[in-house]
Amino acid sequence: MKPPLTTREERLAFFQQWFSDTIPHSRALGIRIVDARRGFAAMRLEWRPDLVGNPETGVLAGGPLTALLDGCCGMAVATMLKEPKPFATLDLRIDYVKPATPGQAVIAEAECYRVTHSVAFTRAFAHHGDAKDPIAAAAGTFMLGTKGEVIRPQTVGAEAKL
């Protein structure tokens, strides 16, 4: 058994390695873990020219935000699971409340506020640093105990003893 993670830096390095780096699409987007605790996850996506939806304005496409919010909600679910089990997104709603500012990184913050035997409920916001001024709002539900084996990112809650 590994010793419990004591410092915040140790925790974040662990989450980065176990969550973002083992999910190829998250790695391809360059998503970094900013924070994680029980029921909560925060991630950061840097602005990049190849993720732009409208070359006229430089505004990010909706797609990278969808992947960021989906991943962040999923990680919030993983932090709640003391006994790791495989899970998958059941549905995800995203409201695009304001265009992202070109050149600026996007922060996503997700909360998993309820876990039942079969379903986990999450909500999330994406913003540029001020959570009160969101770019997007999301609500995601996840089906727990889906087919397949538990993958490493799904065990972060249990491994980090959150």
């Binding site: 083992t22 999910i23 190829p24 699409h25 998250s26 790695r27 391809a28 020219p49 190849d50 993720l51 732009v52 939806g53 409208n54 070359p55 006229e56 990010l60 496409a61 909706g62 797609g63 990278p64 969808t66 992947a67 960021l68 919010l69 989906d70 991943g71 998958a88 997104t89 059941l90 549905d91 995800l92 709603r93 995203i94 409201d95 695009y96 889906t146 087919k147 397949g148 084996e149 993958i151």
Partner: protein, 153 residues
């Protein structure tokens, strides 16, 4: 006039609908492009390893399916409706029905309701069997031109 609308005008003349994607950097990066080889406008996301979300199954990341359904709706609105503006997404709800294996994903869209300012679009994505969709989505888009919009927009 935006690059995308200029590209749309070119594509309408040449019929090479796939070139619409060239005007969108994210669509190029994701290898998402429309095609109309069968006479029906479909959007394809070509498989590449960066799309994977679950390495064990393995399965394509749910976020990429949401993203391609959104692009499918946008290509559909550009190509099939006489829009004079680039549709602006308001919201999208994606239902995940099956895990998507590491292979191309194809999607179609249809307009459920066309309003003067707002359009409701349904889109669905599948792999080999169209009757077994991997994900579906409903989305709203604003199709109002900037000059018609109130100053707050």
């Amino acid at each position: 006039m935006s690059t995308l609308l200029e590209r749309l005008a070119e594509v309408r003349k040449s019929g090479e609908v796939g070139r619409l994607a060239e005007a969108i950097p994210y669509a190029r990066w994701m290898r998402i492009a429309p095609e109309n080889g069968t006479g029906e406008l479909l959007t394809r996301m070509r498989y590449h390893d960066d799309l994977i979300g679950n390495t064990f199954l393995p399965a394509i990341h749910g976020g990429t399916l949401g993203a391609m359904l959104e692009m499918t709706a946008i290509f559909h609105l550009l190509w099939e409706t006489e829009t004079e503006t680039v549709p602006k997404i308001v919201n999208i709800t994606v239902d995940y029905l099956r895990s998507a294996r590491p292979a191309d994903v194809i999607a179609s869209a249809k307009v459920t309701k066309q309003g003067r300012r707002m359009v409701n679009v349904f889109a669905e994505a599948w792999q080999d069997d169209r009757s077994k969709p991997v994900a579906t989505a409903n989305a709203h888009f604003l199709v109002i031109s900037p000059e018609d919009a109130p100053p707050s927009l």
